[in-house]
Amino acid sequence: MRRSALISGALIILILVIWEAACRGFDLPDFILPMPSRIISVAVFQAPMLLPHAATTAMEVLVGILLSLTVAVPLAMIMFARPAVENAIAPFLVASQAVPVFAIAPLLVIWLGYGIASKVLMAAVIIFFPITVSLLEGFKSCDSEFRILFQLMGAGFWKTMRLLYWPWALPHFFAGLKVGVSVATIGAVIGEWVGAQQGLGYLMIQANARLKVDLVFAAILWLSVMGVSLWILVGYLEKKVITWK
């Protein structure tokens, strides 16, 4: 773990050094490709200006995650309990992922307005699918011998769900959640691009129009930090919850 972290760190530093050297060597202007040192300086020194935007995006992402969990978890359980429901819903689930989020973003902004609701829904739409599918697959992967054991102990479906299926599916659930939180910012930012009054996506559009590419990159950097932090947080929760692995 420590070794892989070192390798990752070294790789990032190498890319940044090459990038910095290329910008300096080719004398690239900031509005084409700013130097990493410039981006980091903007990200740090303009933090007071970036922070409210980041807070808005973070709020959209977090509420989106909660919303998608609220729908995905019961849905996966119902689909597992009733295969007929799974068969009926599966095509809609797949279709919801086949439609690009860019296509539905303008509609959501029209329906839900420029506030955070449309962005929350965008984030939730993106996160919902990996969580539902991975949780459902987790339930299905339960060893049949354990199912038989519970059957013989006279456990009903919901008791089996609580004591067997859920703990069994937890590693799958966290894998889906990790994927979900990694891409959650995409939904929120796309929503902000289409129409918003605050948020890192909104800031990027504004900065881009003024050729402040360093600020665009600074916003991307903040988004990346947000995504990685969420990923690490989920990993931490996973370790705390799945203590037996």
Binding site: E145, F146, I148, L152, G154, A155, K159, L163, P167, W244
Partner: protein
């Protein structure tokens, strides 16, 4: 007393057993031995109601029953301990599912932990203990069912010879101290000869009883006795013939 009369089970065109008969006296220890895949585990699945039988009848103490699920405790080849529960929580699973009094169940489990040499390991997770201890814990869980009939499907097959030998005496404890009637599947002829009151030698598919061998004398028999050597050779010959058939 368990009586199985003319029991039949088919999977499509394949007859697993037909007109299969079996009698297990109260507090008896009967061992089923036969070629791999002959249908022994299917017999247990059918008896416990995991899958339906196609014909015949089963009676327990003279009363015809639909299946033995509520009469028997079934211990499978794998320990099937839930990795997220401590050994004590695993042992208490039948009581928890049956909503039994927690304190009484806890006292009983604690006493069984002591009797089966697991005292002090109650809080351990299954992943932290040896295979032999896992099987003992599975045995405690089986005893927590409080059922007179115990079905054991190769409970010791995954263990090394020394651990297996020490657990054989625990199986006898089930019969003598806990007053259980035991029906056990094994591939180990020596194990059968050491423990059983009766050995039923089974044929390949469709499964039938080739011979019933009653055994006398004190249990945990020494296998260097001439009579047991002869029986072992006889059983091996029967199984060999069956394999060559």
């Amino acid at each position: 007393m368990l009586s199985v009369t003319n029991l039949s089970k088919r999977f499509g065109d394949l007859s697993i057993f037909e007109n299969f008969n079996l009698e297990l006296p109260a507090r008896g220890f009967t061992v089923l031995i036969g070629p791999s895949g002959c249908g022994k585990s299917t017999l247990f699945n059918v008896l416990t109601g995991v899958s339906a039988w196609d014909g015949g009848s089963v009676s327990w103490n003279g009363e015809t029953v639909e299946y033995l699920k509520d009469i028997s405790a079934y211990m499978q080849q794998k320990d099937l301990l839930l990795p997220w529960f401590s050994l004590m929580d695993n042992a208490l699973l039948p009581a928890k599912i049956a909503c039994q009094d927690k304190k009484a169940a806890g006292r009983k489990a604690q006493s069984l932990f002591g009797q089966l040499g697991l005292a002090g390991f109650e809080a351990y997770l299954p992943g932290e203990i040896s295979g032999g201890m896992k099987q003992r814990c599975a045995l405690v869980r089986t005893l927590m069912f409080e059922r007179e009939l115990v079905l054991l499907d190769e409970p010791l097959s995954a263990l090394d010879a020394i651990t297996r030998r020490s657990l054989q005496s625990l199986l006898l404890m089930l019969q003598v101290e806990f007053k259980k009637s035991i029906l056990m599947i094994t591939h180990d002829i020596e194990e059968a000869l050491r423990l059983a009151d009766d050995v039923l030698v089974l044929s390949g598919c469709p499964m039938r009883v080739l011979d019933r061998i009653p055994l006398d004398g004190p249990k945990l028999r020494r296998l260097d006795e001439p009579q047991l050597i002869r029986i072992k050779e006889y059983v091996l010959d029967l199984l060999q013939e069956e394999l060559e058939r």
